[in-house]
Symmetry: C2
Subunit: 221 residues, 2 copies
């Protein structure tokens, strides 16, 4: 589909993002033929991930990347502070007009929702923040990846890897996506089976909500 | 196990590392109570991940982090250039003496092997580089996570997430690890089932080796 053409993929990053939201899909998508990934922000520079021990570098400003074919919005505690950031929201609306795919991971979908991109559409996000999508007129769905035409939203954090493999198949082809999956040896064997609310059950879910309150206010997730 | 005590986790990073090798486990381990993650390198500064569109920041030099309780060595194309780097190898040997756990992801285990830490032990690495472990006297095993006492080695790239959850249970307890798994919503649902050589089969594996030759010399993986 993209043979020979540059495939520009923009990943907006911000302070207090959840790094894996961005880096899981990045690792998949950068392996696409001709992919050129750009980490973008209000201005180039270092952005610290949540809890501060890691910084990622944005190499371009939003205005320097006006026409990416793919946009991938990560989430994290820092997304809340951007829900009324008109520079970001305007950029999201503008690039969405011409993207091949507009995508998000975790609470990144809140930003797409705040930009009005998810109105009336099914979408997903981190399991304990579905209500934010509803507030912006989207229809939250408890699925790992939700596709509505050219919009793909992924659930919490690690789900971005699954979404990115699906996206790789859509952008290139299934064989390329399968090759990338083998290359990153994505044959998950989690030691536990507690990765979703339905599998974890109410007691562990309640405990997790308590846990997260201690490290970051639940409303900021 | 670590209640109330600071848990220092050192992640050495380097040019041309595979970002997800480091960031997958980072996202799990940073959620451990009292965890303090330090990205370390020869000197503080930015290190670019393989293929260059992402840079991560090392905030400390090796000598500034002499006694981490946990060390986690990521891999990537850049690990090859470090196989005779005496500063790194000396640091790995020294910190390994006192770590609670010494761990690696992907070709990060080559560096542990080159430091002599894996001699006579079972270990794993990316599926197409088992021979490097043999050259240094380790016994390569085609498993996703291999534990030998306090040493845990993980297979290619994404396997670091599984390893880190196992490690979280060893450092804290199983409930904490399960809570973290739910928090990062790690309920993998890959769209394909080609994440290991045995599942991908010989044809896709051959195709993957051809694919990787085009983006990075196979010997540099």
């Amino acid at each position: 589909m993209m043979a020979g053409k540059k495939l520009e993929i923009a990943i907006p990053i911000f302070h207090d993002l959840t790094a894996l939201d961005a880096i899981g899909p990045y690792e998949v998508l950068q392996l696409l033929p001709n992919a050129q990934i750009k980490f973008v922000s209000h201005k180039p520079g270092l952005l610290r991930a949540c809890r501060g021990s890691l910084s990622l570098q944005a190499t371009a400003s939003f205005e320097e990347v006006p026409n990416p074919q793919v946009v991938l919005v990560p989430g994290g505690p820092g997304s809340k502070a951007l829900m009324q950031d008109q520079v970001l929201l305007d950029w999201l609306r503008k690039v969405h007009d011409t993207t091949l795919f507009t995508t998000s991971v975790c609470t990144g979908s809140h930003l797409l929702a705040a930009a009005g991109i998810l109105r009336g559409l099914e979408a997903t996000t981190h399991w304990n923040t579905y209500d934010v999508l509803s507030q912006y007129g989207a229809k939250p769905v408890a699925k790992r990846v939700v596709r509505q035409g050219k919009i793909l939203t992924a659930a919490g954090v690690s789900s971005g890897i699954d979404m990115a493999l699906e996206l790789a198949a859509l952008i290139a082809d299934e064989t390329t996506a399968k090759v990338i999956q083998l290359l990153i040896e994505y044959d998950p064997q989690p030691p536990f089976d507690t990765g979703s609310v339905s599998k974890a059950g109410p007691e562990l879910t309640a405990r997790t909500i308590e846990f997260v309150k201690k490290i970051v206010p639940i409303t900021d997730l």
